[in-house]
Symmetry: C2
Subunit: 333 residues, 2 copies
Amino acid sequence: MNTGAKPFTMHDVARLAGVSPMTVSRALNTPERVSPEMLARVREVVRRTNFVPNAMASGLRRARARLVAALLPTLVGPVFQEMVEALDRALHERGYQLMIGQSGYDATREEALLRGIIQRRPDGIILVGAMRSEEGRRALRASGIPVVEAWELTATPVDMLVGFSHAAIGASVVDYLHARGHRCIGMVSAGDQRALTRVNAFAERAQALGITAVAPAFTPAPSTMGAGRAGLAELLARSPQVTAVFCSSDMLALGASIEARERRLAVPKKLAIIGMGDQSVAADAAPPLTTVRIDGTRIGRIAAEMVVARADGQAPGQAVVDIGFSIVERAST
Amino acid sequence: MNTGAKPFTMHDVARLAGVSPMTVSRALNTPERVSPEMLARVREVVRRTNFVPNAMASGLRRARARLVAALLPTLVGPVFQEMVEALDRALHERGYQLMIGQSGYDATREEALLRGIIQRRPDGIILVGAMRSEEGRRALRASGIPVVEAWELTATPVDMLVGFSHAAIGASVVDYLHARGHRCIGMVSAGDQRALTRVNAFAERAQALGITAVAPAFTPAPSTMGAGRAGLAELLARSPQVTAVFCSSDMLALGASIEARERRLAVPKKLAIIGMGDQSVAADAAPPLTTVRIDGTRIGRIAAEMVVARADGQAPGQAVVDIGFSIVERAST
DNA sequence: TTGTATGCGTTATCAG
DNA sequence: CTGATAACGCATACAA
């Protein structure tokens, strides 16, 4: 431990190596511009002392933090995990560090977190979900930091955008179920903005096709298996005639599937179930669950590229990218 | 957007408000020491311009980043979520920001991440799981940054520690199953260090009690439901005589329970299943799963307190805290 | 209560 | 290739 001692800096390394601080800086950042002897001396001292340069100082001087911040609604559940993993990997390859913050679906908290993030002057900010508060949008724009909103398509992005249309998903699922002969369908859904977009599109498309979409059962956050069970129970209590249910996540779908089984409601014969996310649980369930697949890895990679391109001063290839989605058919429908 | 424009600083705010930069700094940090008029003028400009102070500069000057870094093996799954949530909350209350990094159970990556973290000079570092590499331990100690290793008890902590004994869990589960009459038991387990500790203790205790612990089925990371199904299948293929299985996570246990059902193996009559973590899936499953409960919230809170106390220059109350565990009995055993 | 000078640790720039 | 100097944006110490 080094507690209490005054911090060890490049000056100290320089002193011990018998060179100037500038040479230490170069040895660390551009070793090819330092003579082999000097380099060896510096490296030896760095190794011995475990010296690590202070990123606050270098960030201040360079006006680059080599840091990208991601703001997630939640870490719970595997929903965003694939994307975060890809984001992290892509940023690391390019020499950036990822800093993750979770807002917990809470507006006040999101506001505070956003301030904290902007304070650190990251080279980019990735928002999972659109920034809706006008306050937040202003703060982001004023900061001059490149922003990518991910996981959602909106008409008025703060800056860049990579996502997919939740409305299109709602409609497509209705089409899919309609094509399979279902005429009375329902939803078990979370209550966040993106889920609501799907709920509305679901109802509208059903009406357009002339089939019945019963009122959805809303589940509280987080979307657990238990919430899925309770959601299906509520839906069936109200509308026992439904023959198919679209759940807003695979975890809810798994819960619904278990609840159906407990009620001796054969899946898919008596009740078809479709989830969303294509998490591993969907494929592993019994029966395997039909689901809406989102390519989280692709979103993460593209978001990283967008942010890095901007941080390097280039304009991004495209400021808005729709990566679409697909329905993965399995035994539950 | 403000791209390209030179960054807006306190000096600019000061100029616009017609005061000195120092007054702006005080208005932001110690408003009670600024006259109401000045305060109003500064706040007005800050509001209008959306000014946010640069944390790299203030951190450099104060030699405090007001940042705590947490290093997790993974974000996947709900295992650490309760702890992270509590950690985040406790730190926020005390004016610190939490920065999360995931090492992905990969040593090289962990090394790089650790460097990146130390560079930013956080006021504390929380490690989930013990730091095993000697390199990493040295780097941590040399940094002088307070460190808390969490989720595990080890004989030689780098600094502070809050966790529970994985060996004690392995032994307790054997005792529990033994008391219920089981004489041939097995495990479906992940292969990480902590899981292995439980595996070994499980085998030892079984031997001490004179009952049979068959060789465990190891599952690949991440611990999904599918891995649990496959794990149980493998175990039963090798050792069909087992009457109870301890799974190293609730997700694995859920998978095992589904696999058992598919094989018409009644739970718990023919096969008892016990999970670990007490995630919501455990209670929501059918049948509800017996599990080992860890108080992640408590770990998170204590870790935050330890780190903050040290950052404030105090010695922590206790440098090592064992928070224990409990077995939650449900219908699967 | 407000302002001025100074330095935090690093690197861009320019001189040798 | 190496070193001296200054500056990044902010807050501590001190002066007015």
